[in-house]
Structures are given as structure tokens and as C-alpha cells.
């Protein structure tokens, strides 16, 4: 029996391979994203274990994510000698590190900065955890005096600097650029890649003077253990010596903490890719169902013959399932291979974006292989389940009949199932969107999936008017050929709609994204339009702070009538990261009046905070309450003294004074300057902008923007994200197109005799091609129409529920959606090329007399 199934598989290689393609792609996405994330993980784990000593002594942070943008907290240098006295301590090194230091390349562009950190270090030779060598200079010599630096290999190469060159640096604490001489190139002794980060090494004294204000202190201390002393033992031995606000952690913990924070931050990537794997697999599932239905229908006579020869129902079903199993295994294997390529592609793509994994080879965990085969085989078997089951209803006597109709489930049952699924899906979506349960994404995602499957199930009924309309239209436009094409599309609505469903899913998601993206952009525009404060905004491109000197000098610029300097620190409130803004209220008032609705603005003194009205309402906070805020320097209790209406200059829900933020350990830098200009000053607004630009000078990170430039800057990431999503959804469309090709090719094989008859009674080759193309176009446009309608529903539903998140405008990109519809026409025509050519080439005589 399995022999028969095997032979039947071999006899249908090409057709099955085409239907496997969807599985291959789906599995490739699963395998590729798992592989990439494992590689990422190993690479970062390697990196972070190269950046810790056996025990790390550091200031205690009040947040779970540490000091991402730096901190003024340090540990006293005297601690180094005290720790050195402890038993079990082999060596103690003071370290200095500071974030936000980037290299400007020879073309004047900042290297990196798209998420990867730029670290400045003081030079030392501390061994890393376990006693290995850490960062070492591999070319040239270590920096020994002010004005000398060493760069990491990758950055030096990317920026195009050689030892001996003058290197330009930018740093939040320096007002303009720093120019230093490159004396050495450094690399991790263990070979760990920096993954796109920049490391600039200064000599220790310079690092202390630039980044710690010249105090005799370190940002952290590495303690190395004597042989036989464990990290935990060493930590416990060191701990009693530490003053308040300083902690000791084992190197393993510190590395783990750093790596997991980073990996968590980029985990959305893996999720993102897995979602697309899911989409590809669902779309692929449709194609498998369809392919197997057609194949089983075509072979029903053969299967009936097997039954007549004594095969049991069970054996026949098993043989079809066996085919699905082989197909699933094959698809998974190919998918796994493609996944490796995909992971390499993703790596190359991210290297382009600054996340360069360097020499880290791809990691193929057994789990990835298991997942690939599990998913591939499971989806294939599940999809083939229905068609396989149906074969059990083939009676042996049908082997003797001329025409065998495979019994199919009634359309009514499918309609009921479809409507049920749509209802369940809509319910899940509504629950997810309105009740906002803990796992919103799951509710909404599964809801969307259920609606899509429900529509696909009910489509044979729903689509009937569309198909009938297409038939009438074709008949009118193309006469008999159109009539035949329309009738063919109507002949097996289940097959037509199942094929269309694959396209529907891709386009539903694409148009949802189009609507979300367009609305997001419209919302950004509206928000900026309504609340862009002042005339100009000064900010750092990569979101870091910049020297307060810039604000001081801009205040003096001719034509600046008011300037509000705003800074913020990333803090933790109730476990969530938030921004704590700080500004001079009087200054803010001059640009946009701060509307205090409760309490007194005058009460805002050091050690107190104001909250905005939305925050107060959502968190049930009123004047007089205490607010515990985790800062880089530890947890602090602040008293709430006033509640203000959300203010576009402040932009954050929490506001305090500048000294309070400094006291909490944040760097003395500004994040945003909002400037009101006097249009009557020399040169008008453009003149003011020129003069402001001159203040910023050659710092490539800090820019002066007017409203239009700011809006462009805000829209850009949305456009980029949508582009990436479209590219991924494009793959789902490719699968769908292949599905149409497959279905058409199969149904033409099924209709060989009919094609022969039509040719015999005088249908020309060209007419035959037109007929098949029209059939294909019906499928494609049906998929597009259903997809666009669903996309519209999903998009609007999501937007309505996101109204509170700042997406207030619902904007439907009509042009883009029309483009999708047009695209589906093209897809339909293209998908028909091969099947039509094949049909036209059929030998009339052989076709007429075909079995």
C-alpha cells in the first residue's frame, strides 16, 4: 500500500513540489528566525562575558535596566585598595566607561548610533571573568595621554581611520566635536564581536577627567579571584566593605543581566519574523488543502481501484496521509536549508543597519531542527487531513464508472463553520481590543486568524455573487471565451475561493498595515500640526543628550525670543520605564503656557514632581501623594505638588526640576530645545535658523529643525517599518501566486479532455490562453477584494481601539489600496502564463482521448 503511495508521489513530483513551496517558505522563516535569534544570543552572551570581571563592584541603580544613557554615579577610587586587601582577591582594577561617545567617519557621518551603543572606556588591563584577557590593543599602542585614543577594529575600519589619523568624536558632555589622535586599534582577546557598538579607549586619567568630572573615582571596579575562589565567594567577601549605594555582583550575573536586557530589547525581531512564519504557514496550509483535494479528486478512480482490489478504507486514507508526511518532511528539509540562507540574509541586513555580528557563525540548535520539522510536517498533515479523510468515502464500484465525483462536505456546513469562526474571531478581537486583557496581541492575532479562516471557509458562498458578476462581465467583454472562463470559476467555487483565500490573507494584512501606517503618519502630522511648540526644535538625532552650552549660546542668538531647554531621564515607575522630564517652568511658560489644574506650579521645588492630568487620572495620583521613582542613582520618593494639562514642550507625564534630575545621577545634558523666534529679526525665520545652525556647528548629531523637518523625521521610522512589513508580506503574496499557478495547472490537467474538445471544435490557442488568464484573474481579484475588505475592517477596528494611544486619525490610503487591487490583476495575468501556455500546447488529439 505504501509502495503505491510512494509511486504516486514520484509520479507527481512537480505538482507536489509546487505545493510544498509554501511549506518550504514557512519553515524557512521559522528556522531562519530561530537561528538568527540563537546566533544573536550567543554573540551577545560572548560579548557581555568579555565585559565583566569575576566580580563587578558598581553603584546601585534604582532601575532594572541600569543607566542606559549614563549616570554621574561612581565608586570612590579608595575602594580599589580596600578591596585588594580582601582574602581571595587576586587583583582589583578601577574602570571608567561612559555611553554616547561616537566616531565621526572621514565623510563627516556618525558611525553606528542606530541603537548600538557608543562607549568610551579608560584604558586598563583588567582580566575578564575567568582570568582571560579582555579588550586589548592589537595594533599600535594603548593611549597614554590626553589627546590619544584607541578604537575598536570594526569601527576603525567602518570609519576609515588608520593608526596615526586624527579622529573626530562626538559626546554628549562635549559641546562640539573632540579631535583625538588614533594611536591603537583594539579587539577582544576572546574574539567576541562588538555587534555594531563603538568602543573608544582613552587613557584612564583622561577618561576620569572627561567623564567623571575629574574626580578620583571609577564607574565600576573589577575584582579578580585567586584560583579556587568562586565568583559568589568573592562577591560575599567583598560586599561588607562597600559603602551605601554601591553593590557587588558576580561577573556571570552582570553579563547575564546585560545580555538579557539587550536581547529583550531586540526580541521583537524574532517575534516579528515568527509572525511572518505563521502567516506563510497558514497561507501554505490553504494551498496544501487545495492541492490535496484536487489530487485526490483526480485520483479517485485509482483509489477506487485500490479499494476494489481489496484495500480497506483505512489503508486508502493512510496512503494519502503517508504522501502528506513525505511531502511535509521534504518541505521541512528544504525549508531548513532555505532557513540557513535566510538567517544569513537577515544577518547581512542587520549588519547594514549597524548590528554587525561579525565573526559569530550561525548557531543551529537541535531545537531549531525540531521546530522546523515539527511545524512543516504538522501543517502539511493537518492540511491534508480533510482531503485524506474524504477518500474513505470512495466506493470500490466507482473504479468501474466513467466519471467519479468525490463526495464533498456540503457548502452549508462550511458556511456555518465559517460564520462560526468569524464570530469567534471577531469576539476574540473585540475582547482583546476593548477589554485589554494581559496578552492583547495573542487575542487580536488569534482573532484575526479565526476571522481569516472563517471568511475562507464561508467564501464559496460569500463569493458567489462576485463570481457570478465576474461571469456576466466576462461574458459581455469577451463573449464565449469570457463565458467559459466565468463558468469555470463558478464550477468549483470551493477551489476558486480556497486559492483566492491565500491571496486574501496576504492582502488583508498588507492593507491593514497600509491603513495603520497611513493613519499613524496622519496622526503624527496632526499631532505635530496641533502641538509643535515654538518655531524650531533642537535635538540629538540618536535621542541622546547634548551639552548645555548649546542652549546657553542659542539664548544669545539674534531673533530668539524664547527658549525652553528640556531634559529627561529614563526612570522606572511601577516596573515600567518612563521619562522624567526636567525644565525651568518659567522658561517653558514663555513658549507654551503650562496649564496647572491642581496644586501650584510655584510649589515645584527640588525633590518634588508635577504629573500631567492623564497620568494623574490613570494612576489615581493627586497632589500631596508620594511617588516612588527608580532612578539611575537608586529609588527616590518624590512628593507630587501639582497636576498640569499635557504640554507639548514637556512631552512627558512627569516633570521635576533640573537639580533634582542631576541629584538623581543623570548627566548634565539637554535633550530638547524648543525655540520661539522673532520673524521680524534680520533674515526672518530663515535667518534665525541659519544662526542657530551656526551654533550647533560641526556636531553632526545635533540638528535644528522646523516643523516640516521635524514631521519628516517623525514619519521616517513609520515609513521604514511599513516598507519592511510590505517586503515580508510580499513573500506571502509570492506563495499565493504560486498557489494560483498550481491550482490552475492542476485544474487544467483535470480538464484535459475538455480542453481537447474545445480545441477540436475550433477554440484557438490564443482564445484558450485568454480563457485561462481570465480564470486566473477572477481568482486573484476575488482574493484581493476579500483581502482589501478584511484589511479595511481590521485596520479600522485596530485604529479605533488605539485611539487612546495617540492614533486619533483614521486615514485610508485609497491610492495604495487601489494599487493593491491593480497589482492583483497583474498577479492574475502572470499566474496564468505557465498554465495557459501548457494548455495551449496540449495535443488536441491526445487531449480529446485522454483518460
Amino acid at each position: 500500500m505504501f509502495r503505491a503511495a510512494w509511486k504516486s508521489l514520484l509520479g507527481r513530483k512537480l505538482r507536489l513540489l509546487m505545493s510544498t513551496f509554501a511549506i518550504v517558505l514557512g519553515v524557512a522563516f521559522v528556522a531562519g528566525s530561530l537561528m538568527f535569534s540563537d546566533t544573536l544570543q550567543r554573540s551577545f552572551t560572548a560579548l557581555f562575558s568579555s565585559t565583566v570581571g569575576d566580580v563587578v563592584v558598581r553603584p546601585t541603580s534604582g532601575t532594572s535596566f541600569g543607566a542606559v544613557d549614563g549616570s554621574t554615579r561612581s565608586v570612590p577610587a579608595s575602594l580599589v585598595d580596600e578591596i585588594a586587601e580582601v582574602d581571595g582577591v587576586a587583583r582589583v582594577d578601577g574602570k571608567v566607561s561612559a555611553p554616547g561617545v561616537f566616531v565621526v567617519d572621514t565623510d563627516g557621518k556618525v558611525v553606528g548610533g542606530q541603537g548600538a551603543p557608543g562607549l568610551a572606556l579608560g584604558y586598563d588591563e583588567a582580566p575578564i571573568a575567568g582570568g582571560g584577557e579582555g579588550l586589548r590593543v592589537v595594533e599600535g599602542s594603548p593611549p597614554t595621554r590626553a589627546g590619544e585614543i584607541a578604537l575598536d577594529e570594526a569601527t576603525a575600519e567602518r570609519a576609515g581611520y588608520e593608526v596615526g589619523d586624527e579622529v573626530t568624536l562626538v559626546s554628549p558632555v562635549a559641546e562640539g566635536e573632540l579631535t583625538q589622535r588614533l594611536v591603537g586599534v583594539s579587539a577582544f582577546a576572546g574574539g567576541a564581536s562588538l555587534n555594531g557598538a563603538t568602543i573608544t579607549v582613552f587613557d584612564m586619567a583622561t577618561a576620569q577627567s572627561v567623564f567623571l568630572g575629574g574626580t578620583d573615582a571609577f564607574t565600576d571596579i573589577w575584582v579578580s579571584a585567586e584560583p579556587g575562589v568562586s565568583q559568589a565567594e568573592l562577591r560575599d567577601a567583598v560586599a561588607p566593605l562597600l559603602p551605601d549605594g554601591v553593590e557587588a555582583v558576580t561577573g556571570d550575573d552582570a553579563a547575564e543581566e546585560g545580555a538579557s536586557l539587550l536581547l529583550e530589547a531586540i526580541s521583537f525581531l524574532t517575534t516579528f519574523l515568527l509572525i511572518f512564519a505563521g502567516i506563510a504557514l497558514v497561507v501554505g496550509g490553504f494551498l496544501i488543502v487545495n492541492t490535496f483535494s484536487i489530487l485526490v479528486a483526480q485520483r479517485s478512480r485509482e483509489l477506487a481501484l485500490l479499494r476494489a482490489l481489496g484495500a480497506s478504507q483505512r489503508q486508502v486514507v493512510r496512503s494519502v496521509q503517508f504522501e502528506a508526511l513525505v511531502l511535509g518532511l521534504l518541505g521541512s528539509t528544504l525549508g531548513l536549508g532555505l532557513g540557513v540562507l535566510l538567517a544569513m540574509g537577515i544577518r547581512a541586513l542587520f549588519a547594514n543597519f549597524g548590528l554587525d555580528l561579525g565573526g559569530q557563525s550561525l548557531v543551529l540548535e537541535p531545537r531549531t531542527v525540531l521546530a522546523a520539522y515539527g511545524v512543516g510536517v504538522l501543517v502539511t498533515m493537518a492540511a491534508a487531513w480533510g482531503p485524506a479523510r474524504r477518500t474513505s468515502r470512495i466506493a470500490p464500484v466507482q473504479a468501474l464508472r466513467d466519471d467519479v465525483a468525490l463526495p464533498e462536505t456540503t457548502i452549508r456546513r462550511r458556511l456555518l463553520a465559517g460564520v462560526g469562526l468569524i464570530a469567534v474571531g471577531a469576539g476574540a478581537m473585540a475582547y482583546g481590543l476593548l477589554a485589554t486583557p494581559p496578552r492583547i496581541a495573542w487575542w487580536v492575532g488569534l482573532g484575526v486568524l479565526a476571522v481569516l479562516l472563517g471568511v475562507a471557509a464561508a467564501a464559496p458562498v460569500i463569493a458567489r455573487p462576485f463570481l457570478a458578476g465576474a461571469h456576466a462581465l466576462f461574458r459581455r467583454l469577451f463573449g464565449t471565451v469570457g463565458n467559459l472562463a466565468g463558468l469555470n470559476a463558478l464550477r468549483n467555487p470551493r477551489r476558486t475561493t480556497a486559492t483566492a483565500s491565500a491571496l486574501m490573507i496576504g492582502l488583508a494584512l498588507a492593507s491593514t498595515m497600509a491603513i495603520l501606517g497611513d493613519s499613524a503618519k496622519a496622526s503624527v502630522d496632526q499631532t505635530i500640526d496641533e502641538s509643535f511648540p515654538g518655531d524650531f526644535l533642537v535635538s540629538n538625532q540618536i535621542g541622546q543628550g547634548f551639552s548645555t552650552g548649546i542652549a546657553d549660546r542659542m539664548r544669545e542668538v539674534d531673533g530668539v525670543s524664547a527658549l525652553a531647554a528640556l531634559r529627561y531621564g529614563i526612570v522606572e515607575v511601577d516596573g515600567d520605564p518612563r521619562g522624567l522630564a526636567a525644565a525651568d517652568l518659567a522658561e517653558v511658560d514663555r513658549v507654551v503656557e503650562v496649564d496647572v489644574v491642581e496644586g501650584e506650579a510655584a510649589d515645584l521645588v527640588d525633590g518634588t514632581v508635577m504629573v500631567d492630568a492623564d497620568y494623574a487620572e490613570d494612576n489615581d495620583v493627586t497632589v500631596g501623594d508620594g511617588l516612588t521613582i527608580g532612578t539611575v542613582g537608586g529609588e527616590v520618593d518624590y512628593e507630587v505638588v501639582a497636576v498640569y494639562e499635557p504640554n507639548p514642550v514637556i512631552g512627558f507625564a512627569l516633570l521635576t526640576t533640573v537639580p533634582t534630575l542631576l541629584e538623581a545621577g543623570y548627566l548634565d545634558v539637554d535633550n530638547t530645545l524648543v525655540i520661539d523666534a522673532d520673524a521680524a529679526s534680520p533674515g526672518g525665520l530663515a535667518g534665525v535658523e541659519d544662526r542657530l545652525d551656526a551654533v550647533v556647528g560641526d556636531n553632526p548629531l545635533v540638528t535644528v529643525k522646523d516643523q516640516a523637518a521635524y514631521a519628516d523625521e517623525q514619519r521616517e521610522p513609520i515609513d521604514q517599518l511599513i516598507l519592511i512589513i510590505f517586503a515580508l508580506l510580499g513573500l506571502a503574496l509570492v506563495i499565493a501566486v504560486l498557489g494560483i499557478v498550481n491550482t490552475l495547472a492542476l485544474s487544467i490537467i483535470e480538464r484535459t479532455r475538455e480542453v481537447g474538445l474545445l480545441r477540436a471544435v475550433g477554440l484557438g490557442r490564443g482564445q484558450l490562453r485568454v480563457m485561462i488568464t481570465l480564470e486566473s484573474v477572477v481568482i486573484a481579484v476575488l482574493g484581493a477584494v476579500l483581502g482589501l475588505l478584511l484589511g479595511l475592517v481590521f485596520g479600522v477596528a485596530l485604529l479605533r481601539s488605539l485611539r487612546d494611544e495617540g492614533l486619533e486619525v483614521i486615514s485610508v490610503p485609497v491610492g495604495q489600496l487601489a494599487l493593491f487591487l491593480g497589482l492583483s490583476l497583474v498577479i492574475g495575468v502572470l499566474a496564468a502564463v505557465l498554465p495557459a501556455r501548457r494548455a495551449a500546447r496540449l495535443d488536441v488529439l491526445a487531449a480529446v482521448s485522454a483518460e
Binding site: N483, R491, E754, V761, G762, L763, Q767, V844, L845, V848
Partner: protein, 260 residues
């Protein structure tokens, strides 16, 4: 219109067609020459593998011969490309196959008009009415083929072949799949059309069917071996017995498998 005019509707000269290569080489047509008179109902008979179907396919523009010529009216088929052959089939030839004659998605009426519709021509209303009346299917024109009996389906096929008033109607075992009652209906239908002046060529192995025709051409091993005018069943049977005994040494089926 009962007198057969001398002008031939189709002329076949020295037609040769071989299938396969080497050991498996079979001469399906081995120099066949025959004239098919206009307005006549001709049966082509012969044992399996005699080349009768191949002859019909070559005359109808469905197949091309290796050498020799086929003239339909004044048109030499051997030089025609696919496009011209398609047009010839559409405009000048009618077909009735043994089975699967109808497009399942179209109604009986639409099937009848299919060749005309493909050509973008309107039927001659008078002829259409007469054909519909002759086949006796007026009440069933709106039905799909699956709702018709085998005999009715074949009658629809005959109507389709007749309605475009082709120069020749080719019928390939039109009664092969029918019971005798339905078969008789289809054959009388063809007979009546021939009486009205329609040229019909029918391939059959049924002596009863052959008895309806004006002339029977017998093929054996790709050659014309007998040519019988106004045949009756017994004459046909006698010739059949003779030819099948003579060709018993030929491996049957080889040509049939290719040319059936």
C-alpha cells in the same frame, strides 16, 4: 436532394502515417487514397489497428500525416499551421466523439452553439430551429450535460456538429457508448441529415451502424481493402469476418493505442 453529387467533399491521396520507431514502428496508414463524396454518409470500418480512426483524424485536421495529401474542399490540409487548422475545424468541420462531447459547464443549447460562438458568428435561425427540431431536444436546451442521458448528450453533440452547416461532419464511434435504442436514434438523426445533403463520415465497428450509411470503406493494416455501396448488415458482417481472419497475424492494439 437524395441523389449523390459526384463532387467530392474531401479527397485523400497516398496518405501515410507511422507511429513509433524501430521495432515498435507501426504504419497506421499505408498509402490510403479515397474520395469522400459530398452529401454522402460514409462509414469507415476495420479491425482494431486498421488505421480507421487515424484516417478520420487526418481528414478532420486533428492529426497530420507523414506524407500524402488531404483536401477538404479545395484546401490542402498538410500545409496548414495550427491556427488555420483550428479555423478549419471551427468553420468547416463538425465533430461527434464517442464520449465526452459536451462542455460540462455549458447548457445543451450553449453547447450546440459553441463553435459558432467561438467564431463569433450567429446561427442561421431557420437552420437552428430545424436542427433543434430534428434532434428533438427543444425542452432540454437549458439543461446541463450532467442532467441529460447518454443518448440525449450524443444528440446534442450531433446538433452541435450540424448547426454550423460544416462541409463534413466526422463522427468517431458516436454510438459506441450507447444502448441500442439510443444508438438507433442517433444513427437515424445522422441518416436524415445526410438525406438533407450533409456530408458525414463515421468511424464505427458496428455493422448495424454501418447499415445506415451510403457507403462503407474498409481499412485493413492501413490500406483500403473494400469499398461497399449501399451496404446491408450481412454484407458488412461478411467482409468483417474476412478481413479479421486475414489480419489475425498482425499484433492488434499497437496502432489502436496510438490512434484511437
Amino acid at each position: 436532394m437524395t441523389t449523390a453529387p459526384a463532387r467530392p467533399a474531401a479527397r485523400v491521396r497516398d496518405l501515410v502515417k507511422t507511429y513509433g520507431t524501430g521495432q515498435a514502428r507501426v504504419r497506421a496508414l499505408d498509402g490510403v487514397s479515397v474520395d469522400l463524396a459530398a452529401g454522402e454518409f460514409t462509414a469507415v470500418m476495420g479491425p482494431s489497428g486498421s488505421g480507421k480512426s487515424t484516417l478520420m483524424h487526418c481528414c478532420a485536421g486533428l492529426d497530420t500525416a507523414d506524407s500524402g495529401s488531404v483536401l477538404v474542399g479545395e484546401t490542402e490540409l498538410s500545409t496548414l499551421k495550427d491556427k488555420a487548422l483550428t479555423r478549419l475545424r471551427r468553420d468547416r468541420i463538425g465533430f461527434v466523439f464517442q464520449s465526452f462531447n459536451l462542455v460540462p459547464t455549458l447548457t445543451a443549447g450553449e453547447n450546440i452553439l459553441l463553435p459558432l460562438a467561438i467564431a463569433g458568428r450567429r446561427p442561421d435561425p431557420e437552420l437552428y430551429d430545424r436542427v433543434i427540431e430534428t434532434v428533438g431536444l427543444a425542452p432540454r436546451l437549458g439543461h446541463k450535460p450532467s442532467e441529460l442521458s447518454g443518448g440525449q448528450q450524443q444528440r446534442v453533440a450531433v446538433a452541435r456538429a450540424l448547426v454550423s452547416r460544416p462541409e463534413i461532419v466526422f463522427a468517431d464511434e458516436p454510438t459506441g457508448n450507447l444502448d441500442s435504442q439510443s444508438g438507433a436514434e442517433v444513427l437515424s438523426l445522422l441518416r436524415r441529415s445526410a438525406d438533407d445533403g450533409q456530408t458525414i463520415v463515421m468511424v464505427t465497428h458496428d455493422p448495424v451502424a454501418a447499415a445506415y450509411t451510403d457507403r462503407v470503406v474498409f481499412l485493413t493494416d492501413g490500406k483500403v481493402t473494400d469499398d461497399l455501396r449501399d451496404p446491408d448488415r450481412d454484407q458488412v458482417l461478411e467482409i468483417m469476418a474476412r478481413t479479421s481472419a486475414a489480419s489475425a497475424h498482425v499484433a492488434p492494439g499497437a496502432a489502436e493505442a496510438q490512434g484511437a
